[in-house]
Amino acid sequence: MSLNSKAAPVSFRNVTKIYGKDVVAVDDINLEIEAGKLVTLLGPSGCGKTTTLRMIAGLEMASKGSIHIGDRDVTLLPATDRDVSMVFQSYALFPHMTVMENVSYGLGFSGFDKAETKDRAAQGLELVGLRGFGDRLPSELSGGQQQRVAVARALVLEPQVLLFDEPLSNLDAKLRRQVREEIREIQQNLGLTVVYVTHDQEEALAVSDNIVVMRNAGIAQIGTPRQLYDAPADRFVADFIGEANIIPCEITTVHDRTATIQVGDFEHILPARGLDVGTALLAVRPTRLKIGATNGMKMTIAKATYVGSRMEYTLEAAFGQIFAISENVDAPLEIGSQVTVGLDEIGPVLLPTDLAV
């Protein structure tokens, strides 16, 4: 016997969550999460991502709409009855129980007999690399180890969905990379459905099959990490996932899904992404700007910062300030000097102008 996965899809249908009388935490969202995928809910604080997660767990009840896990409507089921486990930001390990007791805790309520409970708990600890730690108290473990106990405790129940609420936020930077890789590995090996909440876009890009970007209680965009990074749907997503310079531009012609745009005197050709002739926005990552290109926008260096591996420049242009990164640290540009800034072939994308953001 080994730990298996009973991974099930999750689906939100027109779900709204209202706190009190009129505080809308989640506003009419629809969301399909495939079985066996790791999906991240990403967004700034207060966007409703944690509420969404807690609604899957059954710790909050939807005010409107329905939530399905597998083929069952769980909208009205309390947390106890849902086949979902959660890893908390604080880990929420029971301080008065040993590691083994913590991991066995949920098994005791799931109808396993003693031998089986012990067996499964041992396997769970083995899986997260904590064999032999069973008799310790949580307070005798390091932060990373506590984190793994919390994961093991949730895993051994073989939940249909495993939830993570900002699991890495209490770890130091070095450990974060390691633990997120471990989580991803376990998820892929066992084929678990995982829903993962974070506000760290790099973490989201690194672990996810799909990312759900949330904003103001709604969903801004859903896609794979590459889709979101390379083809953000709007200015909010472009700015939230990685940094982006937003440059107002004019689409002069559109031919065969290719648009010609104009920024001042500078012309550039790139995919139109369904936009028509008129004003638009150009989103460019700081690394996709070519300082000193022959063909480009005229700008003045306003600030230059040396950060070791690269130079960071703030550039003053006719339309405002932009931020650029250059790998050339040996011959930094001087403040006040005039440069021509060009665009990479791939990377820059067109976005619709939206006044909402």
Partner: protein, 737 residues
């Protein structure tokens, strides 16, 4: 895959309460037996003797037929035992059966009393009953609980609080017991204020008693006597003010001076917990009474004629100030420490002098705390019964007037009720002010983040008088406590000052005979009763307090604010009011417990419950909510979460609540003195009895013993908990009420 509770067709909890209901109705004696904890009835005519018969037997014998409809409510739930919870019929049947059973029980309980019908119109409508009933007993109690919890399970099944049976039942249970033992007696007392001599109701009676000169008279302005209400008010304001100032002084010495023996001063905070309230009064008599040491000394030296100046306002004022200053100190030390040092340091860096910092930053930040301490002192003084009784003389206050209205020759329940209402209005007003006016104005500046820095010392101009006053008062307190001990080993105070253990021998002698111990001392009876009652009441208080705290901190439900207010209310109800209202409410069926030990236990539970609630809230808010949530997502239900996660983590709080309610039960006097009976005499009321017979030696010896017993209980708990947390915890629990 997890089994869904909503899909299950077996309901162990439901089955349990159905069986409990049947047992209550068909097996246990329905009516109250003489002794709740004795099981003599088992061999004394049970089950056919009508006094001990279960309801089922009574009905089959054709007696008490009005109990019969409850059988329906016991049968109905059986029909849904195999239904699924989400089936609408499940909820409907349980709600109707529970509500009907419970409602019927209350209805018949109030309608039919020891003289048949309780209401004229019922007799007119249904004819003379020709039968009667007594107070409810085991059977009725269990049956009522069964109906209540069937009802709450029905409500839960309908989806209240996510269908959580434990939480809904806990809410229901707390509401019912608080209603039965706080609101019902108070309501009963209020109606008693309107009852005329011939049993009718009249507002005129109330008004005439309310505006009586003995309540509001202003005679003292012209050399006569003032009304009791005005006396109480005047005294309470004075005591509130003085204790706040003294409490602040002590708090400042402890936190903001270089004083070396701070720990010793902190020990002061334990004193009010372990001292029966009237003991201070006794010590003052030993010092300043007619034959008190100081009086005699001054009379000898200056040749002044000794007077009875102590008896009256001065004595009560001094005694209450001594007794309640430590309480103000407890509150204010938390407040003074709560002012973030970084605020004061910031002010200093902004070029304020020490004096300016104190005046412009520290003091204003403490203001709500000061008001809080004042109101607490006010309430405590209003409610104090022991000291005015011992020292009051001709100075009438409400709490003692109530006592004399009930116990004395006048025996006027209506008057007692009116006086109690006035007293209740004062204390509730203060309580209300504290919660709704101060509640929103907390300047506590402690945040979750570690606040490094130290409190600056007081400016010199302030520290010298403050330190002096603190020393003088601490010295006075010490002398008073030494007097208590000394007084207990003196033959006859002021007359024969030879040292003797006579009083201890009289009170606590025992002999070994026939292989057993014979407790021949005069005090043993009341001593054992006190220990027993306190030991029974303490765990119950802790349970009720912690469950309420759990509901308040961990659950949200409609009407939570009202729920909180209701559970904290009994803090503001003076013991004398509780005593009077319990007598009025519980000496007749359906709950007939006057004169038993139960009424003492019940009164302690509801008197001390707010303390348990506050202690529980304070420590539960230290537990991260994600612990509960993770337990829930791991498949435990809320009861399992409560039992396996929350309770084990609350062990220190539980212990503190246990010890505190135990000790408070041992020192209480105000409610107790109304509720004791010959069989259940408590230590405090026994001592008061001795005092009234001028048997000071025995009274003081007994008090000293009590103080040492409680001191050792508190010390034992300190050892067990392993930290000196108790003072702090009390601070929180009191300062937040």
């Amino acid at each position: 895959m997890r089994e869904l509770t909503s899909e299950k067709t077996t309901h162990p909890v439901l089955l349990f309460w159905i069986i409990a209901g049947w047992v209550g109705f068909f097996l246990l004696p329905w009516y109250g037996v003489e002794e709740f904890f004795s099981f003599e009835w088992l061999i004394d005519g049970y089950p056919f003797d009508p006094d001990y018969a279960p309801a089922g037997f009574l009905i089959t014998q054709g007696e008490k037929l009005w109990l019969a409809p409850m059988v329906l409510a016991l049968i109905a739930p059986l029909a849904v035992l195999r239904k699924r919870k989400i089936d609408p019929i499940y909820a409907k049947v349980l709600i109707i059966a529970g509500a009907f059973g419970f409602g019927w029980m209350i209805l018949q309980g109030f309608a039919i009393g020891i003289r048949g019908w309780n209401f004229e119109w019922a007799a007119a409508l249904f004819g003379d009953l020709g039968d009667r009933q007594f107070g409810m007993g085991y059977g009725a109690l269990i049956c009522a609980s069964a109906f209540l919890f069937l009802f709450t399970q029905g409500i839960a099944a309908r989806g209240a609080i996510n269908g959580d049976v434990f939480v809904v039942s806990a809410i229901g249970g707390v509401i019912v017991i608080v209603t039965a033992f706080v609101f019902f007696p108070i309501a009963k007392m209020l109606t008693a204020a309107f009852i005329t001599d011939d049993g009718g109701y009249s507002a005129g009676v109330f008004l005439s008693k309310f505006f009586d000169d003995r309540l509001w008279g202003l005679g003292c302005l012209s050399g006569g006597r003032c009304g009791a209400a005005l006396n109480s008010l005047f005294l309470a304001v004075l005591v509130g003010f003085i204790t706040t100032v003294l409490g602040l002084i002590f708090a400042l010495v402890v936190t903001r001076s270089g004083f070396r023996y701070k720990r010793a001063l902190r020990a002061l905070t334990v004193l009010p917990i372990i001292t029966p309230p009237f003991v201070i009064g006794l010590a003052l008599i030993l010092l300043f009474g007619l034959s008190g040491s100081v009086t005699v000394f001054i009379a000898d030296v200056f040749g002044v004629q000794p007077t009875r100046w102590l008896y009256g306002l001065p004595g009560v004022l001094i005694a209450q100030t001594l007794a309640f200053t430590p309480i103000a100190f407890l509150v204010l030390i938390g407040v003074v420490e709560g002012v973030s040092p970084s605020m004061e340091e910031a002010a200093q860096t902004l070029r304020a002098s020490k004096w300016q910092v104190f005046k412009t930053v520290s003091l204003p930040l403490m203001r709500p705390g000061l008001a809080n301490a004042f109101l607490l002192g006010f309430i405590e003084s209003m409610a104090d019964f022991g000291n005015p009784l011992v020292l009051g003389g001709n100075f009438d206050v409400l709490s003692t007037e109530i006592f004399f209205a009930i116990v004395g020759a006048q025996y006027d329940q209506g008057k007692a009720a009116v006086l109690a209402m006035v007293l209740l209005c004062f204390t509730l007003g203060a309580f209300y002010a504290q919660r709704f006016w101060l509640g929103k104005k907390s300047y506590t500046t402690v945040s979750g983040k570690g606040d490094s820095g130290v409190h600056p010392h007081m400016p010199r101009a302030l520290s010298v008088p403050v330190l002096t006053l603190a020393m003088v008062w601490a010295g006075f307190t010490a002398i008073v406590y030494v007097m208590i001990f000394y007084g207990s080993v003196v033959e006859l105070w002021g007359v024969n000052n030879t040292l003797t253990f006579k009083h201890y021998v009289t009170a606590f002698s025992f002999r070994l005979e026939d292989g057993g111990i014979r407790w021949s001392g005069a005090a043993w009876d009341s001593f054992w009763t006190t220990l027993k009652i306190a030991a029974i009441a303490a765990p119950l208080t802790a349970i009720v307090g912690l469950i309420t705290a759990y509901l308040l901190t961990r659950q949200s439900f409609a009407g939570k604010n009202a729920f909180e207010f209701g559970t904290m209310l009994s803090f503001a109800i003076p013991g004398t009011v509780i005593g009077v209202s319990y007598i009025l409410a519980f000496n007749v069926p359906p709950i007939e417990i006057t004169g038993t030990g139960i009424i003492l236990v019940v009164s302690f539970i509801f008197r001390n419950m707010p303390v348990g609630v506050r202690a529980g809230i304070a420590s539960m808010s230290q537990l991260d909510k994600s612990l509960d949530e993770s337990s829930l997502t791991l498949g435990a239900n809320s009861w399992q979460t409560f039992r396996r996660v929350i309770l084990p983590l609350l062990r220190p709080a539980i212990l503190a609540a246990l010890v505190y309610s135990f000790v408070r039960a041992m020192t209480a006097i105000s409610a107790v003195i109304f509720l004791v009976s010959a069989e259940y005499d408590m230590a405090t009321s026994y001592i008061i009895g001795r005092v009234e017979n001028n048997d000071y030696g025995l009274a003081i010896a007994y008090s000293t013993t009590l103080i040492f017993v409680m001191l050792s209980v508190v010390a034992l708990m300190q050892v067990i908990v392993g930290r000196t947390e108790i003072g702090r915890r009390m601070t929180q629990s009191r300062s937040n009420v």
